[in-house]
Symmetry: C2
Subunit: 459 residues, 2 copies
């Protein structure tokens, strides 16, 4: 019975995949959503988790919970690996095969180190999933802990220096939030750290931050960042990243305890294994209705796809609204296909863009208006909470934000880094802090033996 239904397999439970699957819920199709994670992540607020503003559960919802009532949608935790085009089957990493009539590729993007994945990635933290965010949060908090105990002023200064590479929305939001966390929240809890000891540097190759925004808003954003105590290093190209150091051409390296990499993304590697035409930056080339070139039975949407609107030169940016609108569009096309109706051209409705710069500061830009400051922040707050999946999350987020706003508190300042054996070993994280390595490295034979899941590693 159910097997006679048209089978739609959606890869990815992000903004695009989720919208597509939801739009097909209750319809006469059998939908299988495959994701490597068990939760949908509200990525625009990931930087809040990375700076202890929100707990992970506040910005993530179990994908199953979203489809609990859509009995025609099944969710599978697994990693899409490749596609058997002849048999029209999606092959998972562990070998399982899922047959499809229509395949929707919404697998998303990952941090792009532009060829330096192996040498830079270990030292400059990307921010794409909850693990990234929790890792950054822990390293920032541990830097303060180490600084509180550090006698050497030079090492101490390094421990309290944080560098964000990339002046886009994510970079701006991270730099602003780290500076605020340090100056307004943490400093008061420590006895030997003064707010002015904390240094947050934002590096951007271009001569202004937020290049997708108007020059005026970029300027406003820059001013607001400096008000928050963020040092702007504009028009400077990062030459190399090593452990706890960012190198620029012809300058002394900038030493830091935490380096965040916010310079761009690229499609996840599944795109290469899909075996179809790829556009620039490895994105999957799609036609005017989001179908993969030469494969009408496969759609690609969101960050993994390269969609160029009719008559325009540049592809759509990797934004949540683009993925969401494409997801709903593709769902419509699948239903039209079943009714033998012609496909429609996808047209992106640009609702504008916004970025937040710390507490009660933001910039918002739409075709009609552009604002900076408190009003922009309220607009940002409203929009983001509005989009959060799940009423409960909305409530929790609002509560957390309100609480932060009135108390300057941070509810999620937890360090849960795994000591290999909590009783017998010191946290390798502390060992990885500048100046402390020598003292703890022997005590910690397991290189970075940090794991939340001990059994498997002990096996």
């Amino acid at each position: 019975m159910a097997d006679e239904l048209h089978r739609v397999v959606v890869i990815g439970g992000g903004f695009g995949g989720l919208q597509c699957a939801r739009a097909l819920g209750g319809k006469a199709v059998k939908v299988t959503l495959v994701d490597r994670e068990n939760h949908h992540l509200f990525q625009p607020l990931l930087y809040q988790v990375a700076t202890a503003g929100l707990g992970p559960a506040s910005i993530a919802t179990p994908i199953r919970a979203v489809f609990g009532k859509d009995r025609n949608v099944e969710v599978i935790l697994g990693e899409a690996w490749e596609v058997d085009h002849d048999r029209k089957e999606l092959v998972l990493r562990d070998g399982d095969r899922i047959p499809y009539d229509t395949l929707v590729v919404a697998a998303g993007a990952k941090t792009n180190y532009f060829g330096h994945e192996n040498d830079w990635a270990p030292h400059a933290h990307g921010l794409k999933d909850l693990r990234d965010a929790i890792r950054i949060r822990e390293r920032v908090l541990l830097s303060f802990e180490a600084a509180e105990r550090e006698p050497d002023p030079a090492v101490r200064a390094e421990l309290l220096t944080f560098v964000v590479i990339g002046g886009g929305p994510t970079g701006v939001e991270m730099a602003g939030a780290i500076s605020e966390l340090g100056r307004m929240v943490l400093a008061g809890d420590y006895r030997r750290i003064h707010p002015d000891d904390i240094r947050v540097v934002l590096c951007e190759m271009a001569d202004r931050v937020l290049t997708p925004f108007t020059e005026d808003l970029s300027y406003e954003a820059g001013v607001m960042l400096e008000e928050l105590g963020v040092e702007l290093h504009l028009g400077r190209r990062v030459e190399r990243v090593t452990e706890n150091a960012v190198h620029f051409a012809g300058e002394d390296p900038l030493k830091a305890s935490v380096i965040v990499w916010a310079s761009g993304v690229k499609p996840v590697s599944f795109a290469e294994r899909l075996g179809v035409t790829l556009g620039d930056r490895g994105r999957i080339a799609v036609d005017e209705n989001c179908a993969v070139l030469g494969h009408p039975e496969i759609f690609a949407i969101g960050d993994i796809a390269r969609f160029v609107p009719e008559g325009e030169e540049w592809p759509l940016p990797g934004l949540a609204p683009v993925a969401m609108q494409q997801g709903r569009h593709v769902a419509r096309q699948i239903l039209r296909d079943l009714k033998r109706q012609p496909r429609e051209t996808f047209r992106y409705k640009d609702k504008g863009q916004m970025a937040t710069i710390g507490r009660a500061r933001a910039v918002t830009q739409t075709d009609k208006l552009s604002m900076a400051g408190l009003m922009a922040w309220f607009a940002w707050l409203f929009i983001h909470v509005l989009y959060l999946v799940g009423f409960r999350n909305r409530m929790t987020v609002l509560f957390d934000w309100f609480w932060q706003y009135v108390t300057f508190g941070r509810g999620s300042r937890l360090i849960t880094a795994r000591h290999d054996d909590a009783d017998e070993r010191p946290s390798p994280l502390l060992a990885s802090m500048p100046g402390r390595r020598s003292r703890t490295s022997e005590a910690n034979p397991v290189p970075g033996g940090i794991s939340e899941i001990a059994p498997t590693r002990r096996e």
Copy 2:
């Protein structure tokens, strides 16, 4: 100036250490609190995190935040290693030394595998800190994910079998909560899992659960557990624990995907390195005012100490109220010492005990009354929320509980297990699930390469 003050060093930010340091806040002493973690943990609710009822941040508070205003209290993130009695200095794991005039040892306990730390611990998860709780939560959730995809009925049954070893409060609470999570919350989200497929077994050596309670309440608790669908295996001694299997004398092993070890605790290893007289089970022997035998300048309180009330035979149990009352008592004695006043004898005020058995069920016992059921649960809820450190946590916990109560939802069903490289490797956790090992073990060369903190491991 401040250095002329009497120096008190408190080891441990648990119930005992926190109460002691708070009682000394604002007094004419210099207090240094040392803890391996940056947060105080409300352990009685740890099982709620392990069963996705609460997020980690709801039951943990940064220790620094607690003392933000007590300028005479400083908090240090570090691991107490040994004590230099001659120089009266506490030596940390990384070599740093902290001089003291009075030392308060409140380092707590760890899971006790009774000599099987190496062979059983990897397969039977203890529940003592947030890492333990998050690990259990992820393994339970992943068992359901694997079961949803598993074609082999035998493997599937094993994937949906959960065993809790130990019928004390922790064991009873875990068994009840896992059964509820599975039957009432998760089952609905899966397409191929029926509530009756889920099997939760509670093993207890004694012939009844909750032996510290009256026989009547034990019976009531047993009935409530069975109402929740928990299988009680009473009067049966666990002979051995291997990967995914619990062995009893002369029976087939009980195969399970998750095994929780709730059979007892023992002092952390620091107790042995302290170099003082130890009582039974390696606990530090203390006199009638909580001072370590032969060391009036050192106090030991909470789970790490063995305190036998005057005229009684048995030492006080390892309960939060005992540690808290001892912490306040010791703080008073330190201040009395400074005033040259004689020390007082510690007298424990027993406020009774309680254990919860799933949603809206609990047993409560005090010298005056004993109750079981809904009223007991409300009493339990009230007491626990009351004791939670920090107003914000109280609010969040109340909100989460209320939300769960009306919706049966679970707000924290997140799996954030570290894929070594989220894009290139499957979760080793899935690899560690029964029946799946063979299929993914090659794909995952790093044994249990699960880490929330990638940099150090990549280094």
